[in-house]
């Protein structure tokens, strides 16, 4: 099974993966005067804008399911910043870096792996900041933080699975990157990140739930704000999403391992 080869390759190269992820953050921000600060400044500005438009403008700062809008949005959007950056950058990872590593026996599945990992580092820091904000807002640490760890791990796996598949395809057909970009833009607005789809007809709500961002955003909120064992109370969604990630990993790893000897012909 290719998925076994994938897990083995990722595990065997874990030091490489963690270290390259750090180098990535460093070299991304070397040119900016404020350096790594931009990794947080940019999202902060976006959050302010969304709060202003969707929180104050559209909702008149009304709370959402018993939680002030800004907290509700923060819990969802922090996950979005992670997944969005990880998948977009991850998709480009192979064709952008292939020439750097082509002359050495580099394990190519580590390319999307370390890009997603570098975004996870930033996510952990950003999440920590948001946790502190939540504590001041009265949402104190609870046993449900255990569930948060599960959701972070799940988000990592999901982003990696998509990035592996997309980066392999994008190495062959560059257009995949544009496709992924558009798809993410659509998903951002049909996911409950800035709004809840509870006014829509039942059938459309069901459809929106099939989108993995629905599961992840709800999971983050359940762990941080609502104190609910979401994995258990929505076990159908849990099973569905784990199956989805597995399928993505199986498809991604088989295409990746079959194609990677031929990347040189396409990149």
């Amino acid at each position: 099974m290719y998925i076994y080869g994938l897990v083995k390759e990722q595990y065997k190269n874990k030091y490489l993966l963690l270290k390259l992820a750090l180098f990535q953050i460093k070299s991304d921000n070397k040119n900016n005067l404020l350096g790594v600060v931009w990794e947080f400044l940019n999202p902060l500005i976006q959050i302010m804008m969304y709060w202003f438009v969707f929180g104050l403008g559209v909702r008149g700062n009304a709370s959402i399911e018993g939680v002030p809008f800004v907290y509700w949005m923060l819990a969802g959007i922090v996950m979005w910043f992670f997944v969005n950056a990880a998948i977009l950058e991850g998709t480009r990872s192979i064709y952008q870096r292939y020439h750097t590593v082509s002359k050495m026996n580099f394990p190519l599945s580590v390319l999307p792996g370390y890009i997603v990992m570098s975004k996870l580092y930033i996510h952990i820091v950003m999440l920590s900041v948001i946790l502190i904000i939540f504590w001041f807002g009265g949402y104190l640490p609870s046993i449900y933080y255990i569930q948060l760890v599960y959701f972070i791990a799940f988000t990592y796996l999901f982003s990696f699975a998509v990035a592996l598949l997309a980066s392999t395809l994008a190495a062959i057909v560059r257009d995949v990157h544009l496709l992924v970009q558009s798809a993410l833009r659509v998903l951002f607005f049909v996911s409950p990140i800035l709004w809840l789809p509870n006014l829509l007809p039942e059938s459309i709500q069901k459809l929106i739930q099939l989108n993995p961002f629905y599961y992840i955003a709800s999971g983050y909120r359940a762990s941080l704000l609502y104190n609910d064992w979401y994995i258990v109370t929505h076990w159908q969604l849990t099973l569905y999403n784990i199956a989805l990630v597995l399928v993505l990993l199986i498809i991604g790893s088989s295409i990746h391992f079959k194609m990677r000897d031929r990347f040189a012909d396409y990149v």
Partner: protein
């Protein structure tokens, strides 16, 4: 003497796609009609430990393809290459990140080449010393001159300790003193009994440094043996080739090309 690299009936074919569409069809196993280019055609040779093999031949003959195959960068279309030992390709300019400093790049490139944390710590001081970059080692590589960059890349590539080395770039990076230093390093490898493949157009260097030579022409192994014997043949050919008119040279090249192209 122990065999170090055995090349058995190795061929490498490339599809000559003329559009993205053909590439896609090929990918979907729809077999579009695409001409095949035989970059290498059934090459066989056995190389022993301590052999320094020069790969010679005119441009486009397939030397680089062969060195890439030996270095395990690309896979043969058919045939087999057995390597007894770790192989490393000296790629001076590959694997450097312009945004990182020289010192960071040492760790970065060593990581890419698959070295462990411990080993990297161990060899970093040697690399810094060999590179002769002084305080520039703390500067980002984008501020380096091309000579400095090559020095760094070369220092990283040679400080590691592979059994089989493939050199597909001239050893003429940096100034004359650095070139001599690089050649001395290669001599050191030679004394340690490593196997080296050396692609070069500098026949003087080849005669001094190599023990064997493989003459590749039009994707085929034309001759393989002791370096002086092969180089005498090759030089005689080059001499004759130079006396030909442009028209003759063109016909000759065209003929070689036609033999390699399968429509």
């Amino acid at each position: 003497m122990k065999e170090s690299v055995i090349i058995k009936n190795v061929s490498k074919n490339y599809k000559m796609f003329s559009s993205k569409k053909e590439q896609l069809l090929e990918l979907l196993y729809l077999k579009p009609k695409v001409p095949t280019f035989k970059a290498l055609n059934t090459i066989s040779m056995t190389v022993f430990e301590g052999d320094i093999v020069a790969l010679v031949g005119i441009n486009g003959s397939g030397k680089s393809t062969l060195s890439n195959l030996i270095g395990n960068i690309t896979k043969p279309s058919s045939g087999e290459i057995i390597r007894n030992g770790e192989v490393s390709v000296i790629a001076i300019n590959a694997g450097l990140n312009n945004e990182l400093t020289g010192l960071e790049n040492i760790e970065f490139k060593c990581l890419l080449m698959g070295y462990s944390k411990k080993k990297i710590k161990e060899i970093t001081p040697d690399i810094v010393k060999f590179s002769e970059l002084g305080d520039f080692i703390y500067q980002p590589v984008k501020k380096y001159s091309s000579g400095m960059k090559s020095k760094l890349g070369f220092a990283i590539s040679v400080t590691i300790n592979p059994d089989i080395i493939v050199i597909d770039e001239a050893l003429s990076v940096g100034d004359q003193t650095f070139t001599n230093k690089s050649l001395r390093k290669m001599e050191e490898f030679k004394e340690q009994g490593k196997t080296i493949f050396f692609v070069s157009h500098n026949l003087g260097q080849v005669r001094n440094f190599c023990t064997k030579a493989a003459w590749i022409e039009g994707g085929q192994l034309k001759a393989f043996g002791e370096v002086n014997e092969i180089l005498n043949q090759y030089e005689a050919f080059i001499k004759e080739y130079k006396t030909w008119s442009e028209q003759q040279k063109e016909t000759y090249r065209q003929e070689l090309l036609n033999n390699r192209l399968v429509k």
